[in-house]
């Protein structure tokens, strides 16, 4: 018997490549210089993206930034902008770039300094995500000016008939005054028609804009006999997007987080297999009953990443143990969250420590979240392994579900999109794959910034000794 209980998360903000977390964080090497990049895309397109670059290497003299389409061939680069160095911090640069069309873009960053030039590109989705209303003050101002203009042109039309043709000193006769009033009435009627037409035009422009506002794919989920999770990507309709053009990210077309609500006390990081077209299937493990949120990260062929969301009620389920890259973990109930806790016990006996520092966490600030993995004896583990090409994966989730971000050590950029920025380099997206596993450090860091204040849960996953371990932390973010 199949139980179908998919519910769309209508309350979630429609933001791509993560949920409610539009800013992009990226850490990488531009030649000899190590840079931490934050890009804040505009909420309307065309719009202005704000770029912040911090160099952790000394000697950077100049940083140039330029926007390019991610996959469009045969294009010249526009003249780059020179990012402005901070007066108090010469290794911190800021700039702004115009993104002129909806779709996948990249910001090419070139650092130049004592050790010559170096560059890399950061993929940036340019998506309209906001429908702006007009505030009352602006509406009153524009209405008043509009009325003044309408009344003015009617009066000018009246004067043009009443007095303008008269010789100097001559007074208008009653007939001329009557004709003037008729002309004023006619002009008022024509104005009413113009205002009506203008309103229709505005409505049509608004409607066309609303069609461009990004609408993420939704996950339609159900349970099949044998404890199988069936997923279908539901397209609410947005431009000419397809749901069957996905690029694999480390061999998986979809990276799915399944999180039990409302306590977030159980998390799974799964990789459903593709069935027909936009359908996926995943064998589930043993599951306690409950309502689960689903966050599925996918990347389209043009490099556009998005997180498809859904929700499902699952009864107590007897499944099968997870295999391969799939992982699961239990977590303390959110209602008992300790926002000062920096140690998370791991299922294999070791522990994960968050080098959090003592300063309060602030919204819209980029941070490097650093975690260390220790064995039961308190020593750094010596057997760290890559987990899907990465030292680790982290998920940042706001308590109310309005924010979800799946972040890698290189940042919030999806790997297939990063690969598209360097089509000639087959290893652009996973340089870590070339690292000798024996030399992997027992620490991992993630560049990320919380988009708004609130209570967040952080799931950090690493692999060592053949086990995928999950650390769980909670963060209180201030404004």
């Amino acid at each position: 018997m199949t139980r179908r209980a998919a519910i769309l998360l209508a309350f979630l903000l429609p933001l791509s490549a993560h949920v409610g977390s539009p800013d992009i964080f990226f850490e990488g090497d531009a030649g000899p210089y190590h840079l931490l990049v934050t890009i804040r895309p505009p909420q309307v397109i065309p719009g202005v993206a704000e770029v912040e670059i911090r160099s952790t290497s000394a000697g950077v003299k100049q940083v140039r930034i330029v926007p390019l389409r991610l996959t469009r061939a045969r294009q010249f680069a526009p003249a780059p902008d020179i990012a402005t160095p901070s007066p108090g911090d010469p290794q911190f640069f800021t700039g702004s770039l115009w993104l002129m069309a909806t779709g996948s873009w990249q910001v090419r960053i070139t650092a130049d300094g004592d050790r010559g030039p170096g560059e890399f590109s950061v993929p940036v989705p340019a998506l309209a995500t906001r429908v702006l209303g007009m505030d009352k003050a602006m509406a009153v101002l524009l209405a008043a000016l509009g009325l003044l203009l309408c009344a003015g042109i009617v009066s000018i039309a009246g004067a043009s008939v009443r007095e303008a043709p008269l010789a100097p000193g001559e007074k208008p006769d009653p007939q001329r005054r009557r004709r003037s009033r008729m002309v004023m009435a006619a002009v008022a009627l024509i104005l009413a028609g113009i205002v009506y037409f203008a309103n229709q035009w505005w409505g049509a422009e608004d409607g066309a804009y609303r069609l461009r506002v990004f609408k993420p794919l939704q996950l339609d989920a159900s349970i099949a006999p044998g404890g199988k999770l069936l997923l279908k990507l539901q397209d609410p309709g947005w431009l000419n997007r397809r749901s069957d053009d996905l690029l694999p990210d480390h061999g998986h077309l979809i990276h799915l987080y399944v999180i039990r609500q409302p306590e977030m006390d159980r998390v799974m990081h799964l990789h459903p297999e593709r069935g027909d077209a936009d359908r996926f299937v995943q064998q589930l493990p043993d599951m306690p009953a409950g309502r689960y949120s689903l966050y599925g990260d996918i990347v389209h062929a043009n490099g556009l990443a998005e997180t498809a969301v859904g929700q499902i009620d699952i009864p107590t389920l007897a499944g099968q143990p997870l295999t391969g890259d799939d992982a699961e973990a239990d977590a303390p109930p959110l209602s008992k969250a300790d926002y000062n806790r920096i140690v998370s016990a791991l299922s294999g006996g070791g522990r994960m420590l968050w080098d959090r520092g003592s300063a309060p966490l602030r919204a819209r600030q980029p941070y490097l979240f650093r975690f260390r993995v220790e064995d039961p004896g308190g020593q750094p583990v010596q057997d760290m392994q890559l987990y899907m090409g990465m030292l680790g994966h982290a998920a940042f989730i706001r308590r109310d579900g309005s924010v979800f971000a799946h972040v890698h050590p290189s940042g919030s950029v999806p790997m297939p999109a990063l690969q598209l920025t360097q089509p000639d380099n087959p290893h652009a997206a996973h340089n870590m794959m070339n690292m000798n596993s024996q030399a992997l450090p027992a620490a991992v860091s993630f560049p990320y910034g919380f988009p708004k204040p609130g209570m967040y849960r952080i799931f950090v996953q690493v692999k060592h000794g053949g086990r995928i371990e999950t650390g769980v932390f909670d963060a209180l973010v201030e404004n």
């Binding site: 309307v44 469009r72 003249a79």
Partner: protein, 372 residues
């Protein structure tokens, strides 16, 4: 006899000139550099129009209203307790419209994105303001001209024809996006230009009472657009937006002016001989002549513009905006397909020209009587 041109007329002429230079410069900026701020020189030139019109016409209205011995008091119109020349009120209205467009445009950018198109509602408010400043300048000159004689009247007539030409420049800018050379072998092109050129040529020519008025208006338009298309590319510019399909290195000029001067010359000849005809009869003949004459010269001229011989600084077809797709028909020097059959749209073009010509003639008749 007073022969000097009043200072406020010069103010109005400077305002319309500033607006048209600024608008062409701004469009070229968007085709060459792409990115701008409110404070580009082109924007300043556009808004200087509103400032010049607002200050000169505002002062004119206030001084006429408050000074009982003002020489303009007897030849002013009254509105909302104020007195002043009709053209001053219209120009001031244009200034307020331009002012209104600024917060509206800013909100529009925030709501729907930074626009890259000429035709948007806030831009239309701005355009109506600029047009009103032009029309106000025209009426300001006209009122003074119709009250004067001798050398002052002659000088004012030159300025009147100049402003008429600038009105033609202003209206053709609105159609710039939809009347490219690729469209010149469609009847729709002639339909579109029939909306703007005939009323300006007819109205200004009728009110100017000058044998070669339409030719002069078309000549002002032609010379102004030619100057813009020859001067702008002399200045370097590089795109600051992507994707960039043409590696622009200089300001991109407007297209070569439409050959309005040929039908305008013929219209002057016709109007000189048909003064006694009824307005509708004149409009029918003038409308047909306008479309036919324009098509006869513009159609083969467009063929020439598509050839390598026109890809030089004189005709400017070697210049493209950075964003023009190299696969577009425009970039490949190809024409949009001619309508099949041609005659329905051609008939609409002729009908439009006749209607707009009649409106222009009626407007000219009304302007002939303006004294204030």
């Amino acid at each position: 006899m007073e022969s000097r041109v009043p200072w406020y007329v010069w103010g109005a002429v400077a305002a319309v000139t500033s607006a048209m230079i600024g608008t062409h410069w701004d469009i070229s900026w968007h085709r060459s550099i792409g990115r701008d701020t409110f404070w580009t020189p082109a924007h300043i030139a556009i808004h200087l129009c509103g400032v010049l019109a607002g200050i000169s016409c505002g002062y004119l209205i206030l001084s006429t209203t408050l000074k009982r011995d003002s020489p303009l008091r007897d030849c002013a119109v009254k509105m909302w307790g104020f007195r002043g020349p009709l053209g001053a009120f219209l120009s001031a209205w244009g200034g307020v419209a331009m002012l209104t467009s600024a917060p509206f445009d800013n909100w529009w950018h925030n709501a729907y994105g930074l626009d890259v198109e000429i035709l948007s509602p806030p831009h239309m408010v701005l355009a109506s303001g600029i047009f009103a400043v032009h029309a106000g300048a025209l009426l300001l000159i006209l009122g003074q001209m119709n009250r004067s004689e001798g050398s002052q009247r002659r000088r004012l007539r030159y300025l009147f024809l100049y402003v008429g030409g600038m009105i033609l420049v202003c209206l053709t800018i609105l159609q710039m996006e939809i009347t490219s050379r690729s469209s010149m072998h469609t009847a729709h092109f002639y339909h579109l230009v029939a909306l703007v050129a005939p009323p300006v040529l007819a109205g200004v020519a009728r009110a100017a009472k000058f044998k070669w008025a339409a030719t002069a208006v078309a000549a002002v338009y032609t010379v102004f657009v030619l100057l813009m298309s020859w001067i702008l590319p002399l200045f370097p510019a590089v795109p600051k937006l992507g994707p960039v399909y043409f590696n622009t290195t200089q300001f991109t000029p407007p297209e070569f002016p439409i050959l309005f001067i040929v039908p305008a010359f013929l219209l002057d000849l016709i109007w000189y001989r048909t003064r006694a005809w009824s307005l509708w009869l004149q409009a029918i003949v003038s409308g047909i002549v306008f479309i036919a004459a324009l098509a006869i010269v513009q159609w083969p001229f467009a063929d020439f513009l598509m050839t390598p011989a026109a890809r030089n600084w004189i005709f400017g077809t070697k210049f493209f905006g950075y964003y023009v797709s190299p696969n577009s028909m425009y970039a490949r020097y190809q024409f949009f397909p001619t309508e099949q059959p041609l005659w329905p749209e051609a008939g609409i073009a002729f009908g439009t020209a006749i209607v707009t010509m009649s409106l222009g003639l009626a407007w000219g008749n009304w302007m002939e009587k303006i004294r204030r």
